[in-house]
Subunit: 217 residues, 4 copies
DNA sequence: GATGAATGAGATTTCATTCAT
DNA sequence: CATGAATGAAATCTCATTCAT
């Protein structure tokens, strides 16, 4: 057995894996997570067999795409933290940029099929938690800066974030892109500190979003 | 044959049709539009044969669900207009209420499959246009009232509307419901008139959302 | 849900089920348990879909064939008991007849795949146990009659039985049939009471054959 | 190219070949002849590529395993002839010992696939014929010695032989081993000379077992 | 030579739709 | 009319074999 899951792939295998992931990303974004595996293989320029060698079944592929994606968002979040001068700015940038980055794949996440898969994956949960920690920092910081209303929690922001990542499917790219930017703009305006106190319910925390934890009203 | 396609259905046939529609609505919302027809039939308590007698194929069912749904929203919109004292209030109410009403089925509309179907259906297009007309009235009116920022158009509002209708799938109902209400709240705050002028691009019109018209930057 | 697994099948469905079972029986006997499902369906004169509606997967089909088969042997055993005047005669008849009956399907049981499946099926285990009980009666009785050597147990006889049911595959039918009958004859001669005491080990019991019980030396 | 197909293999190549053969032997015995080539390669501790370099396809591997196996039996038979004092004793020893030797691989031969392959292989046919010649000597000799009933032929004995080589799959090793020894014992008892005349049909000859010759009743 | 990656034909299984009961 | 069985096209997945590293 060559067992060790960390064994680095051979150069060509690596290349194929990456191509498959990239193709899946694009196709999932465009057509949802139910496309025939064959189509993904074709788009990646490999045979189905290769696809199945790398990802034993569709679920594995969905998971891999999701991990890859969360990873990117997390990297963006960290970059925003490092490069922006305030937490509010970092938060705004992240809201804008992640859309940029993905504009897409999360769409796939809308698929109930995909959802079910992802909820049970520890790697994804870990990434998600990491992301929530960073986000928490932004929210606390921006509130301290007096720029973010204090009646929202990390959960609220994550929700906006998530909502936006599901993008208007169909429609020409230009309009879609503009629409998204404007939606974000409106949301950001809604988040500004002077709105304090007008929201129903209580601030949602990161924990509220954990699919495992039972809901606490 | 009694020719007229409008011949009202016999009572039991009517009942079946309604049950199927109701079941499809729930299942599409929960699991997307790709569920096996058999499952829908089972949930409706009828045989597949019956389902197919009422709706010649899956597309017809999707269309019917969509029409039914648009119809409800439109009725809500009209009720809001009649019962609220200002356009702004009607708009707010609609944003809240439609979520209430559907919280759901639009989710299904995320499916690229469904999208394609709906784009080509004249009945749906008609309903959509009716809805946009009403919405247009709200937007213009609320802007005239000085309550809605003037740099948004009907298209922007429709987009927010649409975005919200895709709701956080999974998660306990309570949190989901609260999250949705808070997102709407944040958006509404972002829509208030004092935010004028901070949005990128131009105000989107209802026409911008027409899937057929070529995009105009 | 029409749930009740005992709901009798509709006439046509029943007919199809039987045809499938009969076809599988013949084909498994002739070619082993790995033949394409399509081939079985074709032989049964139905589409693959029908086959899969009746038997959700290959394992289920193998199980059903095995149950059907054990059932026949058990019926034969009971008939032998009723119609023969001594236990020895009943035993001899069963050894001969079961070959007659099956000459075949047990062959399939040689497949390790099939084996694994069958070991875990309670219905099959129950039939097997029933059969062992009847056999036990024969063995005890024939020993009491002074016709069966006393140093063999039910397990030994079952083994002979099982061994013979795996018949010479290939070879023209005539030779195969004759060979089997002669093998049985030789075995029967080896079982006669005057051979007492020349066997190694201890008499095997029915329990020794239970795939679940740990072996006792 | 060093042309001569008999060119002895390099030491490491030889070792690989042997490992593959040994692994195939074990796996075929345990799981039949349909296991994935990859699994055999893994068990042999080599890559599939290596396996395919040594044996151009699955058939070649099956053939090689069969040849190897027949070879062992033939060697055993000759040893028995040399070392035992009578033909009856040699025959008995061979019946016992071959089980010892193989206990197994013949099991694989039950596969119709394997059967078809072997029937057409001249090397195997040659070995088989050699074996039948030796066996014929035993049978004639033991009959002359008055120890083997005269109503059996070489074919009958070969059949018993073959039947026994298909061993009770599943079940703990101990019971399997004991069961086999006891079955052989019973058969041997059935073969003893004093049973003369009770068998149906006619004595089967070695020729009756030739898969090519048309059957003669 | 050895390795394990890639390929693609074929097997398994699902499900939309039709049709006999 | 309602039902659920049958069909077969299409999807998923496996594995024998070839070939680049």
């Amino acid at each position: 057995m060559t067992a060790d899951p960390e064994t680095p792939l051979r150069a060509d295998a690596r290349r194929n894996r990456d191509q498959i992931l990239a193709a899946a990303r694009v196709i999932f974004a465009a057509q949802g997570a139910e496309v025939p595996m064959e189509e993904i293989a074709r788009a990646a320029g490999v045979g189905v067999g290769t696809l199945y060698r790398r990802f034993p079944d569709r679920d594995a592929l969905i998971r891999a795409v999701a991990v890859d994606n969360f990873d990117r968002v997390l990297r963006d979040a960290k970059a925003a933290k490092d490069q922006e001068s305030s937490d509010w700015d970092a938060l705004i940038r992240l809201l804008h940029q992640s859309m940029e980055l993905q504009l897409s794949i999360q769409l796939a996440m809308v698929s109930p099929r995909a959802l079910a898969i992802l909820k049970s994956d520890p790697a994804i949960k870990a990434l998600r938690d990491d992301l929530l920690v960073v986000l928490e920092g932004f929210v606390r910081g921006a509130q301290a800066e007096g720029r973010l209303r204090t009646d929202v929690g990390t959960g609220d922001v994550a929700m906006l974030f998530a909502t936006l990542l599901r993008q208007m499917p169909g429609k020409g790219h230009e309009v879609a892109r503009m629409a998204t930017r404007r939606c974000i703009g409106i949301m950001i305006d809604g988040l500004r500190a002077d709105r304090n106190g007008s929201l129903p319910g209580r601030a949602l925390t990161g924990a509220d979003l954990d699919p495992d934890r039972p809901p606490r009203p």
